[in-house]
Amino acid sequence: MLGIPLKYNLRHLVVRWVATVMTALGIALPTGVFCAVLALNKGLETALKQTGRPDTVVFLRKNALSETNSSVSREDATKIEALSDVAREGDRSVASREVIVLLNLPRIGGGGNSNVAIRGTTARGRALRPEVQLVEGQWPGDGLSEVVVARGIANRFENCQLGSRLPLGKRDWRVVGIFDAGATAYGSEIWGDAETLAGAFLRDAWSAVWVKAKPSEVKSAEQWIAAGKLKPSMTGPDEPAEELLQVKEDDDMKSLNLVEESLVSESALELLKAPKKITEIATLEAMTEVDYFRKQTELGSPIAGIGSFIALVMAVGAAFAVMNTMYAAIASRSREIAVLRAIGYPRRAVMASFLVESVILALVGGLLGALASLAVNGISTGTTNFATFSELTFAFRVTPEVLGKGCMFGGFLGVLGGLLPAYRASRTPILQAMRAI
């Protein structure tokens, strides 16, 4: 079957250019907002989901959910470092005992205060996170009241620039360096020396102990189950979150929280089972670095959900506008449609033709909107991560995927708005329409 030539639709769109432009812009705006929301999600996701390596394991207090809530006694920290699955360099374990404190800091240029996480870490801790690169100045000296600040925080908070003094605990800390942590969650932190910070804040316990597992094979949790290394357990209604796979190790009832698709190395898997070896009643919990940050997305920011709601409501409004334009287009062309039908084009062809016209119109709008959203690409902003109760800096990321989804969103609006008018066009009564002026 021969369809109505596409040129017919294109020419009409050009002839009625005022209506075309208005409608396309009407679609471009919701598409732009939709893309911005996707870009925001992408940014948040990148910050939390792409942080971490499958062979780095963090030990926290059980149920603590995040380092800010956690505490690990000095005694337990020693036992963790002695575990046989921890990698060694010479005769020392590759482990970092760290402390996290929150500091309420004013944003630059008003906008109130927010909590920023300050991590007391060690040289080994820095080596565990190679994505964290010093871009200016130097690392804090051991035992000195010095800190380095992530670039995203330095740009957005007072007293965080190179050379400024950060009032923290009882003393002022000198900002001696700025670091870049790519798009990872570490890019929202301030780093200092672990012992010095613990002393300044009178902490008698660590917040967490980070270790590197011995080199070994890396597979996803799913593949480890397939390989018989893990057994999934039944997920009951009281499990913490649906996305988490409750993995049973061996035959006893202790379970590990692993995200199904995330990677974990074989010796890291052994470390995940280690907490009960350390204390009789397991008061500790181990997670891979990947899962630790991943889990925070579930508690993450509500901004993404609110953004989707906004895009949805705008889309509804735009779909009505498309309908309006298409009905008008069809009303003014009823004679042409009758002629098309008279020379033998079936109803299906008329319907398809108008639907295609509506989709082309919407795609133009969608493309415009998607391109407009590039304006927010790379803009960095922050929100509170509800899991750690501290600032999470992220950048809008308009990726090709986001642009593609935006165009699809526009096209979908075209289908939504074009369906009823196109059906109506296909039902045009031939004789009356030809007689009508």
Partner: protein, 395 residues
């Protein structure tokens, strides 16, 4: 036929177009109304909790700091302080970790609680009548709990029920017995869960700290002096304090969400432009259709100003009806929105969320203005066309 009659006829001549335009405008107004209402709700939230007379003392670095227990007695001796109650955060998970199960929990001292928060009226959750004796029961039971009436309703609790909470802040799971409820009145916070701080202290081995102290002053005027005295007293100590009104503390919480004002304004502008496009398109279609008709009207003596008035009123009516519809939807669906938001992290912030008349007063005129703005160009184009070309155009 008078002008109004013509207006109605014009609007109803293409009912489908009028309806679609109205729906499109209404959905935009619905969105902006909700955004503005949310912003206003959040801005007022801190003040609504009766927090102007109370101060919160907490650690200088952040709310997570621990203050030595001795601070409590020292704060009580500060001049013009009438009462002070210790606060401990617990961060308890009820049933399972989910936003809808979240509520605030505070370890407090029963003896001083009501002196600091007098609007906290003990009631029997079953009858909702005042029940001071139940508060005594709560005070007497070490593992007793006092929970807001909204929590009783939400979770279907009854007095005497055992509630298990596992803390994310401390390595303990504690069981509590519900002994009393309270109603803090309309707009106040009746969703908090209070328990005895000694109970938590003991389970932790009496470490001897508090997270904060809530203070009541002799008068609101005395508060600035009290703030200076308290923070001055602990300045240069191992644990410095930061004292602020409850209002300021809550406002700070909301600021942590990010720059909401900017977000709402940016989206509002985008939506406003979308509305402009939609109405301009509709008016252009309407005006084009009537090119010859308007020429005829001009020919038979209608003054252009009269025609301008007619077409612009049509746009204004469209703008008004569309905004009204959007506002009505927003106001009507507000309880549903509250319910949907309850399942998110910010749920507790949006309790009592409504879209009020003040937003209608702002948005309906804005809707009309946008529709008028959109109509000016297409209408002008049609009216200034010479009669002959316009009539010829129609044939």
């Amino acid at each position: 036929m008078n002008l109004a009659g013509l207006l109605v006829r014009n609007l109803t001549r293409n009912r489908r177009r009028t309806m679609l335009t109205l729906l499109s405008l209404a959905s935009s107004v619905f969105l902006v109304a909700n955004l503005e209402a949310a912003l206003i709700h959040l801005e007022r939230l801190p003040r609504r909790v009766g927090g102007e007379e109370r101060l919160i003392v907490h650690g200088k670095a952040s709310l997570r700091d621990r203050l030595p227990r001795s601070y409590l007695d020292r704060i009580r001796n500060v001049p013009e302080v009438t009462a002070a109650v210790p606060l401990m955060w617990f961060g308890g998970i009820y049933k399972r970790l989910a936003p809808e199960n979240r509520f605030a929990q505070y370890g407090i001292e029963a003896a001083s609680l009501r002196a600091v928060i007098p609007e906290l009226e003990p009631i029997d959750p079953a009858t909702r009548s005042a029940a001071p004796q139940l508060f005594e029961e709560f005070a007497a039971d070490r593992s007793g709990a006092l929970a807001g009436i909204e929590l009783f309703e939400k979770f279907g609790w009854k007095l005497g029920d055992r509630i298990m909470l596992s803390s994310i802040l401390y390595p303990v799971d504690l069981g509590f017995t519900l002994r009393c409820s309270y109603d803090a009145g309309s707009g106040m916070d009746s969703r908090a869960f209070y328990f005895h701080w000694e109970y938590l202290e003991e389970s932790l081995g009496n470490p001897g700290f508090v997270n904060g102290v809530m203070v009541r002053g002799e008068s609101p005027q005395a508060l600035p002096d009290i703030i200076d005295r308290i923070d001055g007293m602990f300045a240069n100590s191992a644990t410095e304090t930061h004292t602020e009104t409850e209002t300021a503390l809550r406002a700070g919480f909301i600021q942590m969400l990010g720059n909401l004002q900017f977000l709402v304004n940016a989206i509002g502008t985008a939506v406003g432009f979308a509305m402009l496009m939609v109405s301009a398109n509709t008016m252009a279609m309407a005006a084009r259709e009537r090119t010859s008709e308007i020429a005829v009207m001009k020919a038979i003596g209608f003054a252009p100003s009269k025609l301008l008035q007619l077409l612009l009123s049509e746009a204004a009516v469209l703008g008004f009806l569309g905004s009204l519809l959007g506002m009505l939807c927003a106001a009507g669906l507000a309880p549903l929105m509250e319910l949907m938001l309850a399942h998110t992290n910010v749920g507790p912030l949006f309790a009592g969320y409504r879209v009020g008349a003040e937003i209608a007063l702002m948005l309906i005129p804005a809707g009309i203005a946008i529709a008028l703005l959109a109509a000016i160009l297409p209408v002008w184009n049609v009216i200034r066309r010479p009669i002959l070309t316009a009539i010829a155009h129609g044939v």
